[in-house]
């Protein structure tokens, strides 16, 4: 039961006073946001309508202490659909700002910068879909330098910056470069000979799979059960985390093909993540073609909400294509 005596009537104004939070008052709780929410598809406990409703009613402590306020990945799928034109992720950001000021901590993990290695090149600040990275003057080993700094209120741990950083100065728990390379090659998978070299009976495929493109645990389980000598799955927080260097590493060792699975256009949880993933694979493809390397060794597949269970078929398709005799490119 909600007791009106326990409500903090000032909370709505508090949220509205923070830039981005001013539209909270416009919410009439229709639930269109919840119906379109991409996070809610995986985690039904998350409901943006409820958070806005509770904040509007003044349930201050309950909102600030809830884990849900940190789940919104600010993909903004709800924003264009909201009949009241509320930029909901901005309201969520305002609520988080208050929570941080109150001493609550975002659960993370966050991208972390090795300031001794960082050159302040600003590649990551351009890459971040959330503007969560800024270059700031920091004292590093007694010398003030402009280096990348991550804002924990804004970082959604998509890993896009980790891939983009050209000097390997950014890491993200579980998805650092060395961790991914270790997973790619675990059990000596990369050292085994490929189908092209005539040392395997089936084309060997490495698949980088965005965690959001799999719609259920059952789907993950199916994929996991398919792992074998000819298929290695490495999951990524987002297809934008894929590193072209790792694709080349796999292809130059025992992999015949590398498949990158991400979300469809407009369904990315990290705004531009899937765009960056697709762009990297597209550009790498032109590089491989220019080198005269057999086409089709790298592929990006998009998995939308209606593509449940499609990935095993797409992997089989790629495998069949890699069995075709190589076409010589002039």
């Amino acid at each position: 039961m909600i007791r009106s005596s326990e409500l903090d009537r000032g909370f709505m104004r508090e949220v509205m006073a923070i830039p981005g939070g001013e539209n909270l008052i416009k919410c009439w709780s229709c639930g269109t946001c919840a119906a379109t929410c991409l996070v809610r598809r995986y985690d039904p406990t998350f409901n943006p309508r409820l958070i806005l409703r509770k904040a509007g009613m003044g349930m201050r402590q309950e909102v600030l202490s809830s884990r849900e306020i940190w789940l919104c990945s600010a993909c903004d799928a709800c924003y264009p659909r909201c009949p009241q034109e509320i930029h909901i992720s901005e309201v969520m950001k305002a609520i988080r700002t208050i929570a941080i000021a109150e001493g609550y901590e975002a659960p993370g993990p966050f991208a972390e910068v090795d300031t001794a290695l960082c050159s302040g090149c600003a590649v990551c600040t351009r890459a971040c879909p959330y503007g969560a990275i800024e270059r700031q003057p920091v004292l590093v080993n007694g010398e003030e330098r402009m280096v990348a700094q991550v804002d924990h209120t804004l970082c959604m741990h998509c890993g896009v910056c980790v891939a983009a950083c050209p000097s390997g100065s950014i890491t993200l728990e579980d998805y650092a470069n060395d961790e991914l390379i270790a997973r790619m090659g675990a059990g000596g998978w990369l050292e085994e000979g490929s189908y092209q070299q005539g040392e395997a009976t089936e084309p060997r495929i490495l698949a980088f799979v965005c965690q959001w493109s799999m719609r259920s645990d059952a789907e993950w389980a199916t994929l996991d059960a398919m792992q074998s000598d000819s298929l290695r799955i490495v999951n990524l927080p987002c297809s934008g985390r894929v590193d072209p260097g790792m694709i080349l590493l796999a292809l130059s060792q025992g992999a015949d093909g590398v498949l990158v699975a991400g979300c469809s256009e407009g369904e990315c949880h990290y705004k531009r993540g899937t765009y960056l993933g697709r762009s990297k694979v597209a550009l790498l493809d032109t590089v491989l073609a220019q080198m005269g390397i057999q086409p089709g060794r790298v592929r990006f597949v998009e998995l939308g909400a209606f593509d449940r269970g499609a990935l095993p078929g797409l992997i089989a398709e790629m495998s069949a294509a890699l069995k075709q005799p190589a076409v010589t490119v002039a």
Partner: protein
């Protein structure tokens, strides 16, 4: 202590590395006091027989510039490895293939045919091909033959250190030489004559960090703002993915960094890191937009791997190391084009 015995060699290179050593200027006089130059074919009169006559490990330090492009280069690489205590891959060709390494995209047979028959300035009605052996009345003339792929020094013999750059900056060369003389060498396999981090660390240009590039330009197509980051203006600048050491020379002269100091520490493949960094700043959301923006990058391999192709994962993907050292098709014994005096 005896004077240091120093050797300098050029394999397949443009000569720029030797010029960079001459650029030491007055340090050359100090160098003459510190070291005996026992072999430097570009600058002083030596013969291969002089090197062959040396005891093994006679040379203290050999600065080897140039890539391994011919069977002669390969022969001398093995010889100098045997005669040297410390073998240094000097400059971009020896360490990562450099511009000549781009020849690996289409291979030497393509390059020979292009040079012998196709360039606008070629006048070769009899279609004579460059041949490694040519019979003259006085006897056979021989030339070294090209190998199937250009290789870096390390792909042929073990090396001790690398001094990157095209060419290495003369101040960095002097730093490296004094490190040798004062016995301050880092652990084997390290880079010598570099600064920490990447070129961006030394670049004075301002970065907004938010610009998204609508299309890419080649340097001659725009007049960039002299103060602002070149990458943010749509020029493919390799600075973010290039080891510091040059002092950001090119960017200070309005040219985007071309990447000659190679990959930053711990980075596997310079070209793919640059590719990733470039994509991060690209505008757009849709596939059509990707195709449009990507299509404005002319010659992606030459742009991303301008210097590092020979040592890259991309190169490893193309050719097996076993095949790379064979003579190219055009110049194999008995192959077409073997010249004879009419």
């Amino acid at each position: 202590m005896d004077k240091l015995k120093l050797a300098v060699y050029w394999a397949s290179s443009c000569g720029g590395c030797d010029i960079a050593i001459v650029e030491l200027g007055e340090h050359l006089l100090e160098l003459a006091k510190l070291a005996d130059i026992v072999f430097w074919p570009c600058a002083m009169d030596f013969k291969y027989s002089d090197v062959e006559a040396m005891d093994d490990r006679h040379i203290d330090v050999c600065l080897f510039n140039g890539a391994i492009r011919t069977d002669e280069d390969e022969h001398i690489a093995h010889l100098l490895r045997r005669k040297s205590k410390v073998l240094v891959a000097f400059g971009s060709c020896a360490s990562e293939g450099c511009i000549p390494g781009l020849g690996n995209i289409k291979g030497p047979d393509h390059a020979l045919a292009r040079a012998a028959f196709e360039t606008p300035t070629t006048d070769n009605p009899e279609r004579v091909m460059f041949a490694p052996r040519y019979a003259m009345p006085e006897g056979d003339l021989t030339l070294p033959a090209l190998t199937v792929q250009l290789r870096t020094l390390e792909q042929v013999v073990p090396i001790d250190f690398t001094i990157p750059g095209c060419p290495p900056n003369h101040e960095q060369i002097w730093n490296a030489i004094t490190a040798v003389v004062e016995n301050r060498l880092p652990e084997a396999g390290s880079l010598l004559g570099v600064d920490p981090r990447t070129v961006c660390d030394q670049c004075p240009r301002t970065r907004l960090g938010k610009i998204q590039v609508e299309r890419f330009f080649r340097p001659h197509e725009i007049l960039p703002d002299p103060e602002r980051c070149l990458l943010e203006q749509g020029l493919v600048c390799a600075g973010p993915a290039t080891h510091a050491g040059c002092g950001a020379l090119c960017v200070k002269a309005m040219m985007p960094c071309r990447g000659c100091y190679g990959a930053p520490d711990g980075v596997l493949d310079q070209g793919s890191e640059l590719l990733d960094a470039i994509v991060a700043g690209m505008a757009g959301e849709s596939d059509a937009e990707i195709r449009r923006v990507v299509s404005t990058i002319v010659d992606p391999v030459g742009t991303f791997y301008r210097f590092s192709l020979g040592a890259s994962l991309l190169h490893a993907l193309k050719k097996s190391p076993l095949e790379s050292g064979q003579r190219c098709e055009t110049q194999r014994d008995g192959a077409r084009g073997e010249g004879e005096h009419a």
